[in-house]
Each structure stands twice: as structure tokens, then as C-alpha cells.
Subunit: 194 residues, 2 copies
């Protein structure tokens, strides 16, 4: 094997980013179910072999997309601009956290379910622990005076369960706006009047 | 086939009740995982064949136990004595509802999970709809003034998800008392200060 040069590594990273960007565009246009390796290759203007070499399989592509989205979401609530990130009032950050989770679940739909149901969900479990920690911190900052903020954070997060949200949207026609309003109502009652 | 007489039917019903009672005793003593057809036959003092004729399989026995428990629970929150049943203040009924669900999930453990994960959960789905309806009614009676009491009822019920409760108990050593206190805290904040 010839050694990989820095320029080649940088090319590879750029190609990866371009493919992920194209994949996100396709999901935005037609939903995650419509995202196939063929359509991605076509949309990105590359050969199908390139897409398979990069992600291995459709499942690999999906996991990469989810991991990237989750990492981006974590960066936003930890370090990003308010109201999701630091700088806003804790209650406003809580409200933003739920709205963004709801939007994320509705955008990625079945992908999130598939990742959550995967055996040994390496990705979902640490993420859920981090969300809980984050919500617990915001509850404390908001002056939540119960002895069990960690349990309450878990309860609040359980209302954002992807399967539940998708069921409400698909079977009952509930909009993301109504879900976000109901979340705001919930956290305001729990944290806002503490 | 010889026709079944009224006396025979009545005998069969009594035998069924006796077997279910013995099964509940075994669960109370050693947990649901320890309940086998062999142990049930031994504990009830009947032949193993009788147990299999009655319930078909261990899964059939479990489903019968759960259906009976669920029906009994429904009867209690719909028609039973306060605070779970009518007559108590709506907030007290809400608190009792969660405590009883928590106790039920911890008692039946994996059985509840197995029933919930069964394809086309004929039993779980209508039950969940009835619980939602019940919690929504109590929220309204408590003067809950949001435009979406049905969504809030669903959110509250999602915190009682069996998988979540069992995870907290088994992986984090949370007691049923702490879970019940956290539920009381949640519904008091949501409904009690509406």
C-alpha cells in the first residue's frame, strides 16, 4: 500500500462532508426513508462505489448521520448560542432543549428508532445520560427544590421518547408545534414555579 | 363430545381461579422469573398436565395473569375505593394512580415488558388509551388549564414506562418509594398549581 498523504486525507474528509451534506439535503427534501445509496450517489454526483466505500452500507450511512447530528446537538446545548446554549435563563434553555429534540426526532424519524433499538446502542445510551445530566443541571439552576432533580430530569426526558413522539405525529396527527407547546407547558410547570 | 354441564363450568372456573391465586403467591414469594409451569403445578397441588391444559404455555399463563391484573387495576381506578377510585380529590387520585402503576410494574417486571413488546399488543394498547383518558379526566377535574390536557396526560403516563422504571430500579438501585415520590412531585407541580 502506498502511504496516504496529508492532501489525500484532507480530500477524503472533504468528500465525506460533501456526501453527508448531500444526504441531509435528501432527507430534508423527501424524508429519511427515501435516502438510498443510489439516490445519494446520484445527488452528490459521485459513483455508487464511492458511497459504499465511504459508509459501508445504508445502515452505516444512517449511523454516521445520526452520530454527527447528535454530536452537533450536544455541542449546541453545551457551548452554542442561547437560548439552547449558555447565556439564556435556565427555563428558556429547557424549553429550547425540548423543542430541538422534537424537531430532531421528527426530522430523522425511523432512523432514530432504528438506532435506539439496535442491540448495545453505543450511541444512544451515553447520549441519553448526557441529556439527563443537562436537564438536571438546568432544573437545579432554575431553583428546582425537590430532593430528586435527577429522577425528575429522567421523567422529563422520557416524555421526549422518539417512539412516543412519532406515534403521536403519525397516528394522531399531532404537529411538532403542539408537541413543543406541550413540552414548554410541562417544564414551565415543573421548573418555572419551583 | 359430551356437553359441558353448569357444574363442570363452575368447577373449571374455580380451578382456574385457584391456579391464578397460586401463581400470584409464587410471584410474590420469588418474582415472576421464578414462575414456571412445574412450580405452579407443585404449588397448586395439581398435575402438570392440568396447568398446561388450562393456560397452554408459560406465555399463556403470563398473559392471563397480566390481563387479570390489568382488569382488576382498571376496575379499581374506575370504580374502586378512594384515593385511587372516585371520591378522593383529583390530585390525590393522580398520585395514587402513579404509585399503583409503579408497584404493578415492579411486581410483574419482565412480564410487563414482554407483553408490551409483543407484536400487536392487543392488551397493552387499549389499556394505555384508557390510562391516558383517566389521567386526562383527572387533570381536567384538578382545574388543569392548558389547551392540551390529552397531550399532557400522555406525557405524564410516559414517565411510567415499564422499561424506564425497571431500568432505574435494576441499574440504578432506585426504590419504588423514590419513584412514587418523584411521580407525586411531578403531578403536584403539573396539576396541583394549575
Amino acid at each position: 500500500m502506498t502511504p496516504v498523504t496529508a492532501a489525500e486525507r484532507s480530500d477524503a474528509a472533504r468528500n465525506r462532508e460533501r456526501l453527508l451534506l448531500a444526504a441531509r439535503e435528501l432527507i430534508e427534501q423527501s424524508g429519511a426513508a427515501a435516502l438510498t445509496m443510489d439516490r445519494l450517489a446520484e445527488h452528490a454526483g459521485v459513483g455508487k462505489g464511492t458511497v459504499f466505500r465511504r459508509f459501508g452500507s445504508r445502515a452505516g450511512l444512517m449511523l454516521t448521520l445520526l452520530n454527527d447530528s447528535e454530536a452537533a446537538f450536544q455541542a449546541r446545548f453545551l457551548f452554542g448560542p442561547p437560548p439552547l446554549g449558555p447565556g439564556a435563563a435556565p427555563l428558556d434553555r429547557l424549553i429550547a432543549f425540548g423543542s430541538e429534540r422534537i424537531a430532531y426526532v421528527l426530522e430523522y424519524g425511523d432512523l432514530v428508532l432504528a438506532a435506539g433499538n439496535a442491540p448495545r446502542g453505543r450511541f444512544e445510551v451515553p447520549a441519553a445520560a448526557l441529556w439527563n445530566q443537562h436537564v438536571e443541571m438546568l432544573l437545579r439552576e432554575a431553583g428546582f427544590d425537590s430532593p430528586e432533580p435527577w429522577l425528575m430530569a429522567g421523567s422529563l426526558n422520557s416524555t421526549l421518547d422518539p417512539e412516543r413522539l412519532l406515534h403521536l405525529v403519525r397516528e394522531h396527527g399531532v404537529t411538532s408545534e403542539r408537541l413543543a407547546i406541550s413540552w414548554r407547558d410541562l417544564v414551565t410547570r415543573v421548573a418555572g414555579r419551583a
